[in-house]
Subunit: 233 residues, 2 copies
DNA sequence: AGGAATTTGTGCGTATGTATC
DNA sequence: AGATACATACGCACAAATTCC
């Protein structure tokens, strides 16, 4: 019988690097020291360090360039979720913006899938536009334990960026379930899908690195304006 | 100027294994020889072999079990696409079956995205069921150059399996676009979504290892019965 | 333009830990 | 408990890509 050991060294290293990036020690595109130097400083072999870096590369947090160096990707990790699931104009693309409609904190509805440990959650309602056109009505539920307080200013643009920078929360896993649903009664007049009262609805459960569910969101999509795209490679 | 060298050894090994699986030398779930033995037989180091096997694991073609062995996944590679995009009963899961409605070969509609090089394509129409309930109406377009002839018997169950076994075609990349659409006029009476005449429609463009688009499909989903699920990790 | 220095990629061999059988 | 098999970790050598002078 033996005491359970710590995590593998390469996991410790990648987690440390992720914390460093999250703390702002590395900006987007920053180059890491050469592998041999880094390994020496960390007191591990180059092989072990490389395993940590390769894992991060696979997660989309790092870009390796032979002969050049290893480069941190921060804004891009946000894209690692969006590059798989995204909403775009029917013609393709579209510049995304978001308008905060409401922000409050309430008890979680019982019929939602489990996310986080708290009884309460933040509820964020936004109208997302593509090239100025209302395209998606969004309701995000973020576990109340994640943050003492969220202010509207925090939610100006990229939520995943806010999660990572302020909450030290990296969304690395997500599942969307798509159905046809009725538009919610709090829908603003500017959001007006016209397939009767029905529209496409994506329900997303997001998980952090640890695999724990931390966020649940509902996204009503106006299919007259936009379409939902999922891609795997 | 120098002659272009061969591919890395670990790539050669994984490609060889993929060919072997494709040729039926390994059945689903088959266990590979121990790594040390395999490395010896192949004349490479265990490290190099392990890199090949790890790559295959990431591609979903192999399952590694510590202390046990390395196991081929064939039906499961089909799942590597389906594990990201899938249709399941609203209650979850459901045993999938497929009923062939029509199979013919015609010229590609001009408004489709480009796939394959031929002017003609096979058009396969199927009704997919979950636990016997009609859930998805499917129209698959496969480039005519891929195969001299397709017989209905080929299409009994898993199309991806047929692609891989008969056409030596591995689907490794796919993109779905979801909208709300009208049910096609060739819909059988048993498929009857009741959100007016509209239902959820997923349009999928699939690509092979080389990155070339080879298949385009349309999937009308009865959201009274089933839902579409996309997952990334 | 070209060559040297730098940096990552590939590959080998070995030792030890841990899970499975 | 022992044997087997994969996981982790180390160190080294050379190849290939990039960068810099």
């Amino acid at each position: 019988m033996s005491i359970k050991n710590a995590l593998p060294v390469y996991v410790q290293i990648s987690e440390m690097l992720i914390r460093d990036v999250s703390a702002g020690h590395y900006l987007d595109g920053a180059r890491l020291p050469p592998e041999r130097q880094m390994a020496k400083e960390l007191g591990v072999s180059v092989t072990t360090l490389r395993k940590a870096l390769n894992d991060m590369t696979h997660k989309g947090m790092l870009e390796k360039r032979q002969g050049s160096g290893n480069y941190i990707k921060t804004n891009k990790n946000l894209a690692s979720v969006y590059s798989f699931f995204r909403v775009e104009l029917i013609a393709g693309g579209g510049l995304p913006t978001a308008e905060l409609l409401a922000l409050d904190r309430t008890v979680k509805p019982t019929h939602f899938p489990a996310f986080g440990k708290g009884n309460e959650a933040y509820r964020i309602r936004r109208l997302r536009r593509l090239n100025g056109q209302p395209a998606v009505l969004e309701e995000i539920w973020l576990d109340g334990n994640q943050s003492a307080q969220i202010r509207p200013a925090d939610l100006s643009e990229s939520l995943y960026l806010f999660y990572r920078k302020s909450l030290n929360l990296w969304i690395t896993e997500a599942e969307d379930q798509l159905t046809i649903a009725t538009v919610p009664e709090w829908s603003p007049a500017t959001f007006d899908p016209t397939h009767g009262e029905h529209c496409l609805c994506a329900q997303r459960l997001s998980r952090s690195q640890s695999g724990a569910a931390v966020e649940f969101s509902l996204n009503w999509i106006d299919t007259n304006v936009a379409r939902y795209v999922a891609r795997i490679k």
